[in-house]
């Protein structure tokens, strides 16, 4: 009797599992800093990821049927809150994979504390700390954004081309800021430049006068502000302009967004910077798709679309919605060889994979995953003119 009971229970469990595998919807978690210092960017980022999901849903040729998505707030800076939110996504919402996190510190915490332990794939659209290249991730972590080791080279190239020889750096005191500032300093010094001061600032303060005073005393032709555009980074620039400490600013990726030139006003005109971006045909298509869906192809929105797309394509390619299985297919669908897939062509990609063909997902941000699974890095160089970030060229 006992044996029969056990057998029945086991078969019921197996059957329901098989049933679940065949028909249940796949759930993708989208965890970004919807509140916090980059909240003005995450509106478009979240919409970008959801656009990819709705595109696949309306095509209807995804192996596992309808895909659901669940949003969660990473806060960008509070690792404990981000870890708890990820825990909830995986255990309560049963997500199969995660698009996120956004900022490097919380992403590292989410990956090490939750994702690796639960074997869940995470594809971050915007975590750029060089430390994430070497983190022990069991092959679960990818990013459609390039490492800041690459951004350091870009910053060096732009500054050197513009003839800046001495720079001062102010970075936000976390993994992202520190990693980027160190990468810029190392690259700039190696190229023969001088870094007068590389000091941190804390986000969330009302007054950055003292920080700017120290930077001003160190001197430099240009101030590199490796911070956040809705928080300390903005405060540093305002204070530097108020005291006349610096007139020239370099803005890394965390500082580029439409709100900054508006908040600071005409004094910011002439500031230079670069943000991940590409002039590939995919970027233009994505921009049109975004406008049609009532959001803007702002910084990291394309990367978010691509992160979600890669997850779904890898599931299709591997024939499994289990992270531990499809993780090994992410690189395959992202890179050559294969048929190139652009935004708006996810249905074709799904069909090709179903028929057994190889694809090379180019997507909205010209995805090319290198190393341990991070974007090789295309950057859009900008200059602030007339209260807008205008594109100079792509590198």
């Amino acid at each position: 009797m006992k044996k029969i009971l056990l057998a029945t229970t086991a078969s019921v469990v197996l059957a329901s599992n098989a049933f679940a595998g065949g028909h249940s919807t796949v759930n993708i978690g989208i965890i970004l800093g919807f509140t916090g210092p980059i909240e003005s960017l995450t509106v478009d980022m979240g919409a970008g990821a959801e656009l990819a999901i709705s595109e696949v849903n309306s095509a209807g040729n995804f192996k596992f049927g309808e895909i659901a998505s669940t949003r969660a707030d990473s806060t960008c800076i509070d690792s404990a809150a981000a870890t708890a939110a990820t825990e909830r996504l995986i255990t309560a919402d049963k997500v199969n994979a995660i698009v996120g996190g956004d900022c490097s510190g919380v992403t590292t915490a989410m990956l090490e504390n939750v994702a690796v332990a639960n074997g869940t794939v995470m594809i971050s659209p915007s975590a750029t700390s060089p430390a994430l290249s070497t983190v022990a991730d069991d092959g679960l972590f990818f990013r459609t954004a390039p490492s800041d080791a690459r951004q350091g080279e870009i910053v060096r190239d732009i500054l050197m081309e513009q003839g800046y020889k001495t720079i001062a750096i102010s970075y936000t005191n976390n993994d992202y800021g520190k990693g980027l500032a160190d990468s810029i300093e190392a690259n700039f010094k190696a190229a023969g430049g001088t870094v007068t001061l590389n000091a941190s600032h804390e986000d969330g303060k009302g007054d950055y006068g003292a920080e700017v005073a120290a930077l001003a005393q160190a001197g430099g032709d240009i101030l590199v502000v490796a911070g956040y555009l809705n928080d300390g980074g903005k405060g540093i620039i305002m204070s530097a302009l108020d005291t006349g400490a610096f007139d020239n600013f370099y803005l890394p990726d965390g500082m580029i967004g439409d709100s900054l030139p508006v908040d600071i006003g005409p004094d910011l005109d002439g500031a230079i910077g670069a943000v991940p971006g590409t002039d590939s045909p995919g970027a233009a298509t994505f921009s049109e798709m975004a406008t049609a869906s009532n959001f803007k192809a702002g910084p990291f929105a394309a990367e978010s679309y691509d992160a979600a797309a890669l997850i779904m394509l890898a599931m299709q390619a591997s024939g499994s919605n289990d992270s531990t299985v499809f993780k090994s297919h992410v690189m395959d669908v992202a890179n050559a060889p294969g048929v190139q897939i652009f935004p708006g062509q996810l249905a074709e990609g799904m069909a090709l994979l179903e028929a057994g063909f190889d694809i090379d997902y180019v997507g909205a941000s010209a995805v090319e995953l290198v190393g341990s699974g991070e974007s090789a890095g295309n950057y859009r160089e900008i200059v602030v003119q007339g209260g807008k970030n205008t594109t100079v060229k792509y590198r």
Binding site: G206, A210, A213, A216, Q217, A218, N230, T243, G244
Partner: protein, 337 residues
Amino acid sequence: MIDFLNALTLLANYIIVPGLAYGSQLALGALGVTMVYAVLRFSNFAHGELMSFGAMCTILCTWALQSFGISLTILPTALLAIPAAALITVLYCIIINYFVYEHYREKKIDTNTYFIVSIGVLFFTAGLIRLVIGPKDQNFSDGVRFILKARDFKAMTGLNEGLAIKTTQGMTVVVTLILVAFVFWFLNRTRTGKSMRAYSDNEDLALLSGINPKKVILITWIITGILATVAGALYGLDKIYKPFTFMYLVLPVFASAILGGVGNPVGAVVGGYIIAFSELIFTFAYKKFLFYILPESFSPDGLVQLLSTDYKIAVSFLILVIVLLIKPTGIFSGKTI
């Protein structure tokens, strides 16, 4: 001579001008804390949030004025909004006093309980502010931004160093001087002010001589509400209004009040300026300053910075601890906490 002028301009731009403005804001805050301590005999930890509440009301009134198209052209419109905002803040103080503090005063509860109650008021006020205006930054400064621009100063004098004076900095100092002078005049010259001082000196004697405690407390909250509104509005105008930062402003405000002598209005004002200047002086990098005043061979390579700017808040904390250890009554011999 030119080098000396450059060095002087440098100090003026980075220490004296911001120090005067920040010191004025702290002085107004500390004056409010001291008034409550002198009359009601407890440390009002909710004072930071009260400043935030006042600043919030100023912002809302500024928006209302701007929507009617009213502005002060060169000065920030907020200046016009402050009186109305102060009225709302005073009403809020009176309501809180009536429903919270009065209840405990009648029970003659000890000061420790009082200050725990004030922490409760702190969190309530903080929550109310988040509800009304949200947690985001608000920039409500309009009008001409600078009295003197760094670039113009350089062009005018031909010096290497620039000196910038923001309109809000100048306004902060002027408004503080007027308000502090008014409070001193009120306390020393008017009958009500004298009755407040009498009540503060000896409650029982004051009661015997017919002073109405409810009236004294009411006046105290009116003055505290006005001071908090002006301090908060000026701080928000000069920097940026961030609801979260006022929680951290409480520490330097209390350090100022205690340094000067709690319960002593003159002490609060002096304490405010001392704390502001020491925060700036201890965290300033003197590299360029020494470069100007020392012969070339002596000019330093390092930043010559006593403390990293990360430790700015620690300066007021350190002063607070030293004062409490060595002279708990403060410079002007106030009461001991």
